[in-house]
């Protein structure tokens, strides 16, 4: 466009003529509108930047709050789990539910194992499902005690024979524990401790026969591995615990000098 005063060439955004200095009235409206747009743009830009800043902070605060919540849940559960009583109670409840779910299979297996004199099988089945807590299996009470005593004696003899050392246990200590299981058989297994008489249903029929056979099996294990005579084997059930422990350890040392010397 041309300046209306001097005729010089003007650009659209020239507020004044660069040649004569007079106001460019033709472009005034354009320039005013442009200034308005620029002002609106600047204001909007500031608003957007402020909002973005707020959203960035808010978003991160939300993420932090969520992470703190998740951490609190994990820490809470971990601390609950660290308490042994909670763990034990949780596992007992879980075991109880598992036993409830499989009770028919458990009962059938128990009957089969009792018939086949699977002492270790019954002991482990009992331990796995905490069967002592079940009212519907109370009749197996003496069977469970016998199987557990068998496993205890079996385990100690195996550890003596294999030389497995756990937590500083010596063969003398293990002989003492074997003597404990044997001399307390009548008290714990036959049930004197709980007032169980010979007429008790827990010692009737197959249950009684199982307990009797289990006692023979325990006696055989101890007799063979400690080389006891028949008389000593018959007498050991009513001996004093310390007396039997000393006898077992003395036999162990005399028959297995190389092994006992290494302890």
């Amino acid at each position: 466009m041309k300046c209306q005063y001097c005729g010089g060439n003007l650009q659209l955004d020239n507020e004044v003529c660069p040649f004569c200095g007079r106001e460019n009235t033709k472009a005034k409206k354009y320039i005013d509108t442009k200034k308005g747009y620029q002002k609106e743009f600047d204001e909007t830009e500031k608003k957007v930047q402020k909002k973005v800043k707020l959203n960035a902070r808010t978003g991160r605060l939300l993420v932090i709050a969520l992470m703190v919540l998740i951490i609190a849940v994990f820490v809470g559960i971990n601390r609950w789990y660290d308490d042994a009583e909670n763990r034990i109670h949780y596992r007992q409840e879980k075991t109880k539910q598992l036993a409830e779910k499989n009770i028919q299979h458990i009962t059938e297996t128990l009957q089969e194992m009792e018939k086949n004199r699977e002492y270790l099988g019954i002991s482990n089945l009992y331990l796995n499902y905490l069967l002592s807590r079940r009212d519907d299996l109370q009749e197996y009470g003496r069977v469970f005690s016998a199987a557990n005593s068998y496993e205890s004696v079996f385990e100690y003899i195996v550890n003596i024979a294999t030389g497995f050392g756990y937590n500083g246990e010596t063969s003398e200590y293990r002989c003492g524990n074997i003597a404990h299981s044997v001399t307390n058989w009548n008290w714990y297994v036959s049930g004197e401790a709980r007032g169980v008489s010979d007429n008790d249903p827990r010692l009737a029929g197959e249950h009684g026969a199982f307990v009797a056979d289990c006692k023979v099996a325990v006696g055989d294990m101890v007799q063979v591995y400690f080389k006891l005579t028949d008389e000593e084997t018959a007498a050991m059930w009513t001996m004093e615990q310390t007396e039997l422990a000393a006898l077992l350890y003395e036999r162990y040392q005399s028959y297995y000098p190389e092994v006992s010397a290494n302890e």
Binding site: E45, A56, I71, G121, N159, F164, D220
Partner: protein, 142 residues
């Protein structure tokens, strides 16, 4: 239109650092939670994995191996089958000595049969069966 240089918000930077720190904390507590959960998820707590049974064998802890095998079988765990065979062999070897010592021929033969069958099915664990022979069956023999 003017272009303004974008300024870094110091509060956002601080919050980012907090988030990074919390990620590490989450990893630590999450890993502990995972181990606790996976242990409990294993069902009966007496079951044993193959590596635990292998560790028992390294320490000559055959009693634990036998109990682990029983627990695994009760709970239907089958991926440690060869260890179960070795456990059966060990128990049978133990009882073989008892029955042989008591002169019970039928029971002795039954345990021998179990030992022979188990030895065939235990794969590379036969070296431990040989060790069992030395430890248990020949225990006390000079």
């Amino acid at each position: 239109m003017s272009k303004t240089k974008k300024k870094t918000d110091p509060v956002v930077v601080l919050l980012d650092l907090v988030i990074i720190a919390l990620i590490f904390v989450m990893l630590i507590v999450g890993i502990e939670f995972y181990f606790n959960f996976s242990y409990e998820k294993r069902g009966g707590t007496f079951m044993q994995e193959a590596k635990e049974m292998a560790f028992d064998l390294e320490r000559n802890n055959y009693a634990s191996l036998i109990q682990g095998a029983y627990m695994n079988k009760i709970n239907g765990k089958t991926d440690t089958a060869q260890y179960h065979e070795l456990a059966e062999y060990t128990e049978a070897a133990f009882l073989y000595k008892v029955y042989e010592g008591k002169g019970k021929a039928a029971e002795t033969a039954a345990q021998k049969e179990i030992m022979d069958r188990a030895r065939q099915n235990m794969g590379s664990l036969t070296i431990f069966a040989d060790r069992v022979d030395g430890l248990i069956r020949d225990f006390g023999k000079k």
